[in-house]
């Protein structure tokens, strides 16, 4: 084998082993020790973080600062009630929500549907612009025997698939029962939008994050009513708190025949309907 400068044989190529240099072994040993120390430090850091976590969630005696000043979220558990027998389809709830929350055009945090059922059981459903500008009369040529309006919004489910499926933890449930989206962490994958059986989510065209009804969290934490509930002129939409003593909505939900949408999916919605009928999905 020729051994010129340019064509040095690689050690070991001829089939024989060469012992490693002592310094290399030492280097590796030193490196491993340093690495081990670093990892140990990391573990201790994480443990420290865990104790912070324990403190914050009230597992230890010291209390953390409330997330929203002047508001204790552990004292509320919100529920929403829609009386379908009362809705007149004015769509002012949709309008109020849109103004209150700066909802982009052609997307809806809440909307109203209109169902017209013929004698033969055929169902015609529509929701012009989500009901934002009310409804116009339509002529279907069929004899309509049953018709009603159907407001819809995010059901803030207890076992919601949207939180289960969010890959980064941007979709979450607050301790007072509201499903919110962390707009700074959302990566805009759209999985939660696909996962919602009720179609209440959308990807915001400007922020490119998931967006939906927040129960007007910025209002209810200040003791105000949600915009849609306040706007409803006939009291079809109602907002309640099961942790509040004497709450009327909570009482109705507990005592009257309320229904939910798609109960077989066991998402445990917290939006209840009075006067639910089989045509509704």
């Amino acid at each position: 084998m020729r051994t010129t400068q340019a064509n040095k044989p690689i050690p070991g190529c001829d089939g024989r082993d060469r012992p490693p240099l002592r310094s290399r072994r030492e280097f590796i040993g030193q490196g491993t020790r340093t690495l081990g120390a670093g990892v140990a430090a990391l573990v201790l850091c994480d443990l420290a973080e865990l104790t912070e976590y324990a403190k914050a969630s009230g597992l230890t005696t010291s209390s953390a600062e409330p997330l929203v000043s002047g508001y204790d979220w552990t004292k509320h558990a919100y529920v929403y009630l829609i009386d379908l027998r009362k809705c007149i389809g004015c769509g002012y709830c949709v309008q109020a929500c849109s103004r209150e929350n700066d909802v982009p055009e052609a997307y809806f945090r809440t909307w109203v549907e209109r169902y017209e059922v013929s004698r033969t059981g055929e169902v015609r459903v529509d929701s012009p612009d989500g009901g934002m500008n009310g409804f116009e009369p339509v002529v279907t040529g069929q004899e309509v025997t049953k018709a009603f309006f159907f407001p819809k919004l995010c059901c803030h489910c207890t076992n919601t698939p949207c939180v289960q499926l969010c890959p980064v933890g941007a979709s979450y449930r607050t301790l007072d029962g509201v499903i919110l989206v962390d707009e700074q962490r959302c990566i805009g994958c759209g999985y939660c939008v696909q996962a919602c059986p009720y179609g209440s989510r959308f990807i915001h065209p400007v922020t490119h994050t998931a967006s939906k009804c927040t129960l007007c969290y910025h209002r209810i934490t200040k003791g105000l009513k949600n915009a849609c509930v306040q706007a409803c002129p006939v009291g079809a939409r109602r907002f309640g708190d099961t942790k509040r003593v004497g709450d009327e909505v909570a009482r109705i939900i507990a005592t009257q025949r309320v229904g939910v949408l798609q109960p077989e999916l066991l998402t445990e919605p917290n939006c209840f309907y009075l006067g639910l009928t089989r045509e509704a999905r």
């Binding site: 976590y53 997330l67 007149i88 018709a147 969290y217 910025h218």
Partner: protein
């Protein structure tokens, strides 16, 4: 085993990569994450932060006690002022008027609730506007078109039975 040096080196490389990931990840986790569940707790504060846009009827009554009194005596007491007018934020900011409060005085506003629709519950007052206007002898602009403000010729918007 004897001839495994290359395997060991490759595995070491992988371990270094994995450990670097663990270390880097640690510094990338947002501050308030995990405090109450698998989310960033500061997001809750962010959601609660914005100022409300709608004010509520008490805010209107503060300045407009006359229409408010008329309104609270009639059937429209269940209709919030901001529904027919506009959200408080359009009209007043920081206790000062910034613009005139808009209102739609045409039949379209009234018809939005009171136009007869099949799906509307029958115990709610609704009419076929054209017929209602004709029957009550109020003029139509042309044979077909209704005058824009026709409803207000007979009804007080705040208290419709007045």
């Amino acid at each position: 085993m004897e001839h495994t040096k290359h395997i060991i080196r490759a595995v070491l490389l992988l371990i270094v990569a994995a450990v670097s990931f663990v270390i880097i990840r640690h510094f990338l986790i947002p501050e308030t994450f995990g405090a109450y569940g698998h989310f960033r707790a500061a997001s809750v504060t962010e959601h609660a932060a914005p100022a409300p846009v709608h004010g509520g009827v008490e805010a209107c009554a503060d300045c407009h006690d006359e229409p408010s009194d008329v309104w609270s005596a009639g059937k429209h007491v269940t209709v919030s002022c901001e529904v027919c007018h506009a959200p408080l934020g359009v009209h007043v900011r920081d206790e000062e008027q910034v613009a005139a409060m808009p209102v739609d005085k045409t039949f379209r506003l009234c018809g939005r609730c009171h136009e007869r629709l099949v799906a509307r519950r029958t115990d709610f007052p609704q009419v076929v506007l054209r017929d209602h206007v004709r029957e009550n002898g109020v003029g139509l602009a042309t044979d077909d078109e209704m005058k824009e403000g026709v409803c207000l010729e007979c009804h007080n918007a705040h208290n419709p039975s007045e």
